[in-house]
């Protein structure tokens, strides 16, 4: 029963996550950007614009210019999250690639960094009056959810080690459509349930910034409006009607 519940939960969460994100990306891609609006100085070529976006994704370049503390905690959080996710690949890959084995210890340090960065970001949200002013309940909940996932993960590691062979069998089973029993440790179940919630709310929340950053016209457009004529489909129709 437990195994089935979690299996269904994860299938649903994964479906919502993937379909939700794809739907958003398609919607963004299909919505025309009628005018050239890169924030200048901007690269004049497509390749240059791609590098600019890559810099935003990997290094948070604008945020770095903007606010060193938010940059530090925000970047630390995201890199730590990436490492932790990569560490978890061992539950999904058989055989485990050597590099995944190699990063295992870093994944653990990263989990601490992740929790620390989240606490720091939350403290900012609570203590600085202008950030408190803009915060919504969902902003706090997103932090709480991520922190709870990180802390339950650390607690499993340190206080209630679970049968990781069985956990791996469960996830491999999910992927092979051949369900295997999930250990019934309360911490593990909490951890997994929270992860499923995170996956499911992702496409409906501000976590969408992960997709949005790729589609931001002020960052991804090359600066070439004098050299090329860009006309959105609806604007072209307008022009035709006029004549």
């Amino acid at each position: 029963m437990l195994t089935a519940t979690y299996a269904v939960l994860f299938y649903l969460a994964a479906a919502v996550l993937v379909l939700g994100l794809v739907a958003r990306a398609v919607r963004y891609a299909r919505t025309p950007a009628p005018l050239r609006v890169p924030t200048t100085p901007a690269p004049t070529s497509r390749g240059g614009a791609a590098v600019r976006v890559a810099g935003e994704v990997a290094l948070f370049t604008s945020l770095f210019r903007s606010n060193k503390w938010i940059w530090l905690f925000g970047w630390l959080f995201h890199v730590a999250l990436l490492l932790v996710l990569l560490r978890h690949l061992r539950y999904f890959l058989e055989p485990i690639p050597q590099w995944v084995v190699w990063i295992q210890p870093f994944g653990v340090y990263a989990a601490y960094a992740l929790a620390g960065a989240l606490l720091a970001l939350w403290a900012r949200r609570l203590l600085i009056d202008r950030i408190r002013y803009i915060s919504t309940a969902s902003d706090h909940l997103a932090l709480a959810l991520l922190l709870a996932i990180g802390l339950t993960g650390l607690a499993i590691k340190h206080f209630q080690p679970t049968d990781i062979v069985a956990v791996k069998a469960f996830f491999l089973g999910l992927m092979r459509l051949d369900w295997q029993p999930l250990p019934a440790d309360p911490l593990l179940l909490t951890h997994l349930a929270l992860v499923a919630v995170l996956m499911a709310v992702f496409p409906f929340s501000k976590l969408l910034h992960a997709v949005g950053v790729l589609f931001s016209p002020s960052r991804n457009q090359p600066d070439n409006p004098r050299e090329r004529r860009h006309v959105a489909p609806w604007a072209a129709a307008l022009e035709r009607d006029q004549r």
Partner: protein, 517 residues
């Protein structure tokens, strides 16, 4: 509001690291633009009164805009409320009203977007602070979306490039559709549509004015420097903000352009049909009205059979010209072979020059080619000079063939025209420049307190460089900046004459020794 109803904040001694005020909700709520009357609404095809179904209309308009403008949708979704933009807006720094934090301003629309257009907001409004679009909310929109100069400084610093200007433009479109237009902007757009310029200056008045200016030029220089109007077959069509025809210090800039044209021996003309570079339709986000205004310029260029189009000193006008003209009216290069509409003009124009070209690009090229010579000593009496980057030039356009030319080319001209050039503090120039506080359709007296407070970061940087380096003049290349500074700097104890047109300095420095043909 009278001159004495408020005090300007004391200038900061540390303009590179201004103190961030703590949030004081409602601090700036009293600075409200006047509503457009029926006449000004109707002239633009907007409802003249508030229709009964205003809420449906507003939401319908919003849905339309979400479907036709990617920035709006992405920007409303992507914000993580990190607060990195909060202290980047001159209006927040000057007023402390949290609705003047870029994210606070965006949230006015985002909260409504969540409530009406997202599953999370429809089902759990309290969780994501979804807000019903009530009349009070719409009134708040009117107030605070008309406290944004659309300067894009926030966009530079946001990790996702979220540009509050895009959101305030969309908000104003929605307000217009519900009958809540802003008087200043809408009235002016009506004039351009009708007469061809923001002032409503008809052709005879324009001709009179430039005749007077030609006489002034003769008296000043002894040369017959012309300011031609409607000369068919001239090489260059100059499109300049109409403020250049009469306002101070703008008009000295216009005379500067005339000196450059004269000395370089270029044949040029103004157009009485398109006697305005400004395009206030950008401020209210209207593609249709922006296009209509841009098309006057296309028509003038075709009718006058010119080879080049040059744009005078104006920030938002240069943004529209550089970034949007090609899209809106085919004024540019690179249109497809089957794009007859754009080709009609593009095939007429000389491909060797960028279309459109900024007056600073043109003058810089003339200097580089040796067609004109500049003597900085001619401006020695001005003492030190600094330069104010206009937002729309710095963050929404380009000059020259490379990224950042819009920051360098005006400086190259200044350095060649004045003996002592000094930069203002780091973090207040280039693409991080602080707005003058009067752009985006806010150059109207009823929001004077806001305008003064919005100028606080720039005034602080200017005051500091005046003290530190003995600077006496601040050159600008924007008609709105010039008007705004001349008006608000005195509130900070800085003389209004401090602001000067870049081309006034260039004009003083040009050696006028061309032998008349």
């Amino acid at each position: 509001m009278s001159q004495d109803a408020f005090d300007a904040p004391p200038l900061s001694q540390r303009p590179e690291g201004l103190e961030v005020p703590s949030a004081r909700p409602g601090r700036s709520a009293e600075s409200r633009s006047h509503r457009a009357g029926a006449e000004h609404q109707e002239a633009l095809g907007f409802p003249s009164d508030i229709p009964d179904d205003w809420q449906d209309r507003a939401l319908a308009r919003m849905e339309e805009l979400l479907a036709r403008n990617r920035s709006l949708r992405v920007y409303l979704d992507a914000c993580v409320h990190c607060g990195a933009c909060a202290d980047k807006c001159h209006f927040y720094l000057g007023t402390g009203d949290p609705r003047n934090m870029p994210v606070g301003r965006q949230d006015l629309m985002r909260d409504v977007y969540r409530r009406h257009f997202t599953p999370a907001g429809r089902s759990f409004p309290a969780l994501v602070r979804g807000r019903e679009l009530t009349w009070d909310v719409l009134e708040e929109w009117f107030t605070y979306f008309h406290q944004c100069t659309q300067c894009r400084r926030c966009s530079v610093f946001c990790p996702y490039g979220i540009d509050t200007a895009e959101i305030s433009m969309a908000a104003r479109e929605i307000l217009d559709a519900t009958g809540l237009g802003q008087k200043y902007t809408n009235e002016i757009i009506g004039k351009v549509h009708k007469v061809g310029n923001n002032l409503g200056l008809p052709k005879p008045a324009l001709e009179d004015t430039v005749e007077g200016l030609e006489e002034d030029l003769k008296d000043e220089t002894g040369h017959d420097i012309r300011i031609p109007v409607d000369e068919v077959g001239a090489d260059v069509l100059l499109i300049t903000p109409s403020a250049d025809f009469f306002a101070e210090p703008h008009v000295d800039g216009l005379m500067g352009y005339a000196k450059v044209f004269h000395q370089a021996g270029l044949s040029w003309t103004l157009s009485s049909y398109a006697s305005e570079a400004a395009n206030f339709a950008m401020f209210m986000g209207s593609y249709e009205h922006m296009k209509r205004i841009a098309e006057r310029i296309r028509k003038a260029a075709l009718d006058l059979e010119v080879k080049r189009i040059v744009v005078g000193e104006c920030g938002h006008a240069w943004r529209v010209a550089y970034s949007f003209w090609n899209t809106l009216a085919g004024i540019g290069q690179g249109a497809d072979a089957d794009d007859e509409y754009a080709r009609a003009l593009q095939d007429q124009l000389d491909r060797r020059y960028p279309v459109p070209q900024h007056i600073c690009e043109m003058t810089r090229d003339l200097v580089e080619r040796g067609a004109i010579e500049l003597d900085p000593e001619a401006n020695a009496h001005h003492g030190g000079v600094t330069f104010h980057d206009s937002c729309n030039v710095a963050r929404a356009s380009r000059m020259g063939g490379y990224a950042g030319g819009q920051l360098e080319i005006p400086r190259q001209l200044l350095r060649a025209s004045v003996p002592h050039f000094h930069e203002m503090a780091d973090g207040t120039t280039g693409d991080a420049t602080f707005c003058c506080g009067g752009g985006g359709g806010l150059l109207t007296d009823e929001v004077m307190e806001l305008r003064v407070r919005g100028a606080y970061p720039r005034a602080s940087a200017l005051g500091e460089v005046m003290e530190r380096q003995g600077v006496q003049k601040m050159a600008a290349i924007c008609a709105i900046c010039k008007t705004q500074f001349a008006k608000v700097l005195p509130y900070y104890g800085i003389p209004r004459e401090t602001v000067i047109s870049l081309h006034e300095l260039v004009g003083n420095a040009v050696r006028l020794d061309r032998t008349e043909a």
